[in-house]
């Protein structure tokens, strides 16, 4: 079983990086073959270009600019996102991963004029994230990242997929103990994935 871990944070000493390490190590120890996709480290370009926009609906050639990433997506049975929430959403780096890689023919298909999910080989979906503000603040803003993962991405993977959304809120004021507890919780959830 193969797990693709998509990570988006530029600083190796960050708490996000610690979460990323925890996810990768725990999954590997549980026997998952981990495809560690560190978008910043790989120098991923998040900007969907004019040429890509023109060819967006041309299923087949549309995936050429991001073919290696599409292959990695298609090879995975589990998909785990690790990212911080910045300004009410995920980092532009991760948003660009969706914009450029979740293409027609990759994440969804048109079957008899209806949109059908195309990542049905993915049976485990998880997000591990940290919010600077409180839970209340996120709810007031409508919590966009939670909706995208739990609804939009959830819709294109296997319909019986197991879903986990693990979030630490009020990160700006979180003490060491709270962070450690969250790290342990992420480890435990990954054990069970």
């Amino acid at each position: 079983m193969r797990a693709m871990v998509v990570f988006s944070h530029p600083v190796p000493e960050s708490f996000s990086a610690a979460l990323h390490q925890k996810v990768v190590k725990t999954l590997s120890a549980r026997g998952w073959e981990v495809d560690d996709c560190d978008l910043y480290a790989e120098g991923f370009d998040p900007v969907l270009s004019c040429v890509e926009r023109r060819g967006y609906h041309d299923v087949g050639p549309n995936l050429d600019p991001v073919a290696p990433y599409v292959e990695r997506l298609r090879a995975a049975q589990a998909l785990v996102f690790v990212f911080p929430v910045w300004n009410f959403g995920y980092p532009a780096m991760l948003k660009g991963f969706f914009d450029r890689c979740f293409l027609p023919g990759v994440s969804f298909e048109l079957v008899n004029g209806k949109v059908a999910p195309a990542l049905t080989h993915i049976t485990r979906l998880a997000a591990v994230t940290t919010y600077g503000g409180t839970r209340l603040r996120a709810v007031m803003a409508g919590d966009p990242p939670r909706h995208v993962v739990k609804r939009a991405v959830r819709f294109v993977v296997n319909r019986n997929a197991k879903m986990r959304y693990l979030a630490l809120y009020d990160m700006n004021r979180a003490e060491e103990a709270k962070r450690a507890a969250f790290l342990a919780r992420v480890g435990a959830e990954m054990e069970r994935l």
Binding site: P10, V11, P12, S14, Y40, P46, V47, L48, S49, C50, E52, R53, R54, H57, W86, N87, F88, G89, Y90, P91, A92, M93, K95, G96, F98, D99, R100, F102, G132, G133, T134, R137, M140, A141, G142, D143, P144, P145, H147, V148, R151, A152, F155, N172, R173
Partner: protein, 209 residues
Amino acid sequence: MRALIVYSHPKEGSFNAAVRDLVVAKLHNAGAEVEVIDLYAEGFDPTLTGDELDIYLDTEANIRPVQRHVKALRRCDTLIFVYPTWWYGLPAMLKGWLDRVMVPGVAFTMPEGGDIGPGLTHITRLGVFTTCGASRWLTWTIGAPGRRTLLRGVRLLCSKRVRTAFAAHYLMDSSTPETRAAHLARLDKAMDRFIGAPVRSAGIERAPA
């Protein structure tokens, strides 16, 4: 009225460009000062780097990499976003503009031990004009994350009395010249309401009785 339009679409001649042009024309007619930031045209880099995160909390240093953008944001009293909705949200290009320009000391304050405070209280009008490939129904089912990021998230940072406007052309991929013209007509009316009578600023700028 000083308006800043942040525009994010890779193709010139797109319907979003027509939306932008109409918004600019309406503002000009109302006598507003208008500035347009075209993120794709200027090759804006949406990636917040490790170096920038190192200085993220330093409210003097953190604006240096994006000084011109911060200046434009601080000058305006009307902030408008024009963009296509991709994956129910903002294009990475536009999300990156928020990540890099809406930093502590500019868009919000982070007092020691306290909750986040608003930093854009000089903004009294917030407009969001977009196109969606999905239907209105599907967009709402997902929870309209793009709209919420701006009209709830960014709105929390603006003046308490901020006036908002929103217009979206849904099912963009099956749009026709008629649906597009109808949308521009709706937008025209929405802009009239949006510009409307002068907005009274909260507190300090209120004229003496």
